[in-house]
């Protein structure tokens, strides 16, 4: 497996391990209790990480045909 794909492990760590430390109300993040704000950050971070993996993946350059 290509090294950059290991970035895909980060969402697992952020959500499954991070929750142990994030399980609290304060400080508020974007007006949300910390635990909820943390999970929202993880979700957004997942999109960013998958975007990086997508751009780095040579498989996505071969067929750009599909749009609808």
């Amino acid at each position: 497996m290509r090294a950059i794909n290991w970035l895909g492990v980060l969402p697992f760590i952020g959500i499954l391990v991070g929750i142990i430390y994030a399980n609290r109300v304060t400080p508020y993040l974007f007006g949300l209790p910390f635990i909820l704000g943390w999970l929202v950050l993880c979700v957004l971070g997942t999109a960013v990480i998958m975007g990086i993996i997508y751009l780095a993946d040579p498989a996505n350059r071969s067929d750009a045909e599909d749009r609808r």
Partner: protein, 494 residues
């Protein structure tokens, strides 16, 4: 007729018209009906996947859990992200195989990979048994939505019959094309409604998000974090992991995979699907806003929190818009479920029993079975029962049991033998059934474990038993023929 009712019925009619129009210009053979001729691009596949994921569960269950349980609801936000990470590698592999072999359904995949139509029958049965509660869930939600939004003018029973009839008609006519077209309407409406409610209600009643959460935290200390016991961090992690793995095991989710035109579609969606998850945050915010404004909804009634607070806040016409969005969140997934269950029964069970059937008669029978599945689901719905989330969790546990055998099948050299796959799925499903029916917990089944582990999701037991059966039976039966992935030609008609 109230303004709300007019809007809801107009939306149902538009959905019906869209669903029927989706057929235009196509001959509805099995290929078109079940997998849309394998011609869907990124946006349609995105909408189909989103169509299945953002269901009445998102709408009522997401806000209902936030209202009734608080922090445990956040697990819903967690598992999707993990599933999308997995999807980046899982779905292209699934698609390549099913496209090369022109498969229609999830049981086809198992049957083909393990060279056993019998395994296909088993997977089809598991699928149908899991899909019916999911359909019940949609219909229950639809009933709640219409009866509430019509201010009681239409009973939920009447609404359920009407909704089921609408879906049945457009599924028979247009198959997966109907689902794809109606999901366009649904996603626009639900996105607009939930985001608006999630921002407007906290601001209107509390002056902002943080003041709202501070008020909740003061009124109900501990509500906004996971408890040390019960729905604890261990519960959260085990539930997120299990549901994350089970995510794409839903028969209709895998069905959406088969509709794609190319595998790039899935890698692109893996980037955008997590963003779409944020809609769940807004559903939570609605539930939280309701806690102090419409207190006292217990048990099943918690699923009503979104509507109760909306009724208190808005004019009837806007209740109609919310109701219309809610109805669509039931119809679109409902259509996928009906189509998938009917295709399983026809293609993977009846065809196996009567091997001579042509593709044409299989397609015809599948469409004839749609009203049958719909009727069974309506009858189950009207007999009522558990709250929305609990129903979903049981179906989830069933389909999750397919995960180990599927992953084995996708490996270059499959370590799982056909009897091993049978044993794993059978043992896993039996365990889920026993555990659910006896309302077991880890503590009652494995009392010798350290106490904090009592909070593990009970589905873990079924998964572990599944894996043990799969490994042991595979080890014993190794060396028998029918190595998975072998390109058997036994499956009728392919």
């Amino acid at each position: 007729m109230s303004a709300a009712l007019i809007i809801i019925f107009a939306t149902m009619l538009i959905a019906l018209a869209l669903g029927i129009a989706a057929r235009r210009g196509r001959t509805m053979d099995m290929e078109q009906w079940t997998v849309g001729g394998r011609g869907f691009g990124t946006i349609f596949v995105f909408l189909l996947s989103a169509g299945e994921i953002y269901t009445t569960f998102t709408f009522l269950g997401g806000s209902g859990w936030a209202y009734g349980r608080g922090a445990p609801a956040f697990y819903i936000l967690g598992y999707g992200s993990l599933a999308y990470v997995i999807s980046y590698w899982l779905l292209p592999a699934l698609w390549r195989y099913s496209n090369a072999h022109r498969l229609y359904t999830q049981p086809d995949l198992f049957a083909r990979k393990y060279n056993s139509t019998g395994l296909g029958v088993l997977v089809a049965l598991v699928g149908v048994v899991a899909l019916v509660p999911y359909m019940v869930l949609q219909l229950t939600g639809l009933g709640i939505i219409v009866s509430t939004a019509s201010y009681g003018a239409i009973s939920s029973t009447t609404a359920i019959w009407i909704g089921a009839a609408v879906v049945t008609v457009y599924v028979i006519v247009s198959g997966v094309h109907g689902s794809a077209w109606t999901s366009v309407l649904k996603d626009i409406l639900i996105l607009a409604v939930v985001v608006f409610l999630g921002i407007y209600l906290p601001v209107h009643y509390y002056g902002g998000l943080q003041p709202m959460f501070e008020a909740i935290d003061a009124a109900k200390p501990g509500f906004l974090t996971l408890a040390p016991r019960g729905q604890s961090i261990i519960w959260f992690d085990s539930t997120v992991l299990l549901t994350g793995l089970g995510f794409y095991m839903w028969p209709h989710s895998m069905g959406a995979v088969f509709t794609a035109r190319s595998e790039t579609v899935f890698r692109r969606n893996a980037v955008f699907m997590p963003l779409y998850q944020i809609i769940l945050l807004f559903a939570f915010l609605v539930g939280f806003a309701a806690i102090l404004q419409v207190p006292g909804l217990k048990g099943t009634a918690a699923d009503l929190s979104l509507f109760r607070i909306s009724l208190k806040t808005f004019d009837p016409w806007f209740i109609g818009v919310i109701g219309a969005a809610g109805v669509l969140t039931a119809l679109v997934p409902g259509s996928m479920i009906l189509m998938t269950a009917a295709a399983f029964l026809s293609n993977n069970i009846v065809r196996v029993l009567r091997p001579g059937m042509s593709d044409q008669s299989v397609a015809l029978l599948a469409r004839a079975l749609v009203p049958v599945v719909a009727l069974v689901s309506v009858l189950f719905t009207l007999r009522g029962g558990t709250t929305i989330v609990e129903l979903l969790l049981m179906g989830y546990s069933f389909v999750t049991q397919l995960f180990p055998a599927l992953i084995g099948a996708l490996m270059r050299r499959n370590p799982v033998t056909t009897p091993g796959a049978f044993a794993g799925i059978l043992v896993g499903v039996a365990a889920v059934a026993v555990l659910s029916l006896t309302r077991a917990t880890i503590g009652s089944v494995l009392p010798f474990l350290p106490v904090p582990l009592y909070d593990l999701n009970v589905g873990i037991i079924a998964m572990v038993l599944n894996l043990i059966a799969l490994v042991v039976v595979s080890a014993v039966t190794r060396g028998t023929p029918a190595i998975a992935g072998a390109d058997g030609r036994q499956i009728a008609g392919k």
